[in-house]
């Protein structure tokens, strides 16, 4: 499978000295780690929220579409999603990906299961690109 994003805008200028390059990839890896955590947390809360919505509107456990687990589920997911978006934005900025990928990552926080699937792909691509970058700088000592 080919890379879905545009290879023309290279992530980081390669003429940077190796130390600067190192710190850039290191902060990108840190952003990737934060994104990974939030993708799982958001995905988990979204599943709980989906369960709540199904119980509330489809099964209608309490009648009259009243909350089953509680309104706090939606509230917690809302704030977790905000934190998730912060990590998405920071990672996306560091990796210099296209707008399509940003849209997909934003959407993944509100579509059940999507964050888990997308996180794998994002992680794989990011690791590949960062590895690529590091090998290019370490080749010439």
């Amino acid at each position: 499978m080919s890379r879905p994003h545009d290879r023309e805008d290279d992530p980081v200028p390669t003429e940077l000295p190796p130390t600067a390059q190192d710190s850039t990839t290191r902060s990108a890896r840190a952003a990737l780690g934060r994104y990974r955590v939030m993708a799982f947390v958001t995905g988990g809360w979204l599943l709980l929220l989906t369960l709540e919505l199904v119980l509330k509107y489809v099964v209608d456990v309490n009648g009259g579409h009243r909350p089953v687990l509680g309104v706090w589920v939606a509230m917690v997911h809302g704030w977790v999603y905000v934190a998730y978006l912060v990590t998405v934005f920071l990672l996306w900025t560091k990796m210099r990906w296209g707008l399509g990928r940003l849209a997909a990552m934003v959407l993944a926080g509100v579509v059940p299961f999507m964050s888990f699937v997308l996180e794998r792909r994002v992680h794989r691509d990011a690791v590949a690109e960062l590895g690529d970058l590091e090998s290019r700088t370490t080749v010439a000592p």
Partner: protein, 253 residues
Amino acid sequence: MVLLLVLLAAAGVCGRLGVWQLDRAHARSQAALEQRRAADASIPPVSLSDVLAPQTRFDGSLVGRRVTVRGTYAVDEQFLVSGRSLDGRTGYLVLTPLRVRTDAGSTQSAAPVLPVVRGWTAGPDGTDLTTPSGEVALTGYLQASEAAGTTDPVARTTDSISSGALANIWGGPIYTGYLVATSSEPAQPSGLASLPQPVPPGGWGLNIQNLAYAVQWWIFGGFALALWYRLVRDEAAQGTASTSDAVASGAAQ
């Protein structure tokens, strides 16, 4: 270019949605208050002695509770409470002590006193402030006592309804809340305006859930602006790069 406008529009929409949620937060809080009011009003009044005894702590949940009480007004000990507004007009509350008739076998030596707000008047002059004589049966809402203020026992005016301060003047035992009278049997002279049902204090006047949604919309709007800023910056950087390229190639020719 279109994308930048779309992002700015998205930020604007997010801001507007935040304001909408803020309105909803206010509306839902009002609705909850009305619901609480209606619920209180639908509960049949209970006897005062069932919910509150003299000289005991006034529980906050009693605010707005409808009660009935029988007793005799102490006509000469009436006070006017100054600086009270009703429907946007400032005037006075008429505050009269009621010597409550307690059940037989009561151990209280003297009849306990219940402060009763009989109604509101724009000014004491020209209003009939006489109280019904003899025993009266009152129905009204309970309200918590206020902090002590300034009381003039000679002019019979005060600026607060404080059981503690009033007990010094009226003599105890006294109830730690007061009654906002809504009906009296026999009826009191007309001319006094009834106060609305008291509502419990506290609450922000804003529904927390909708308030959180409002903040979240504004944060989303902030994201749109941040994205806009990044795109503009990239565009500018690219613009300078291509300009310098053009300059370089122009120089080479």
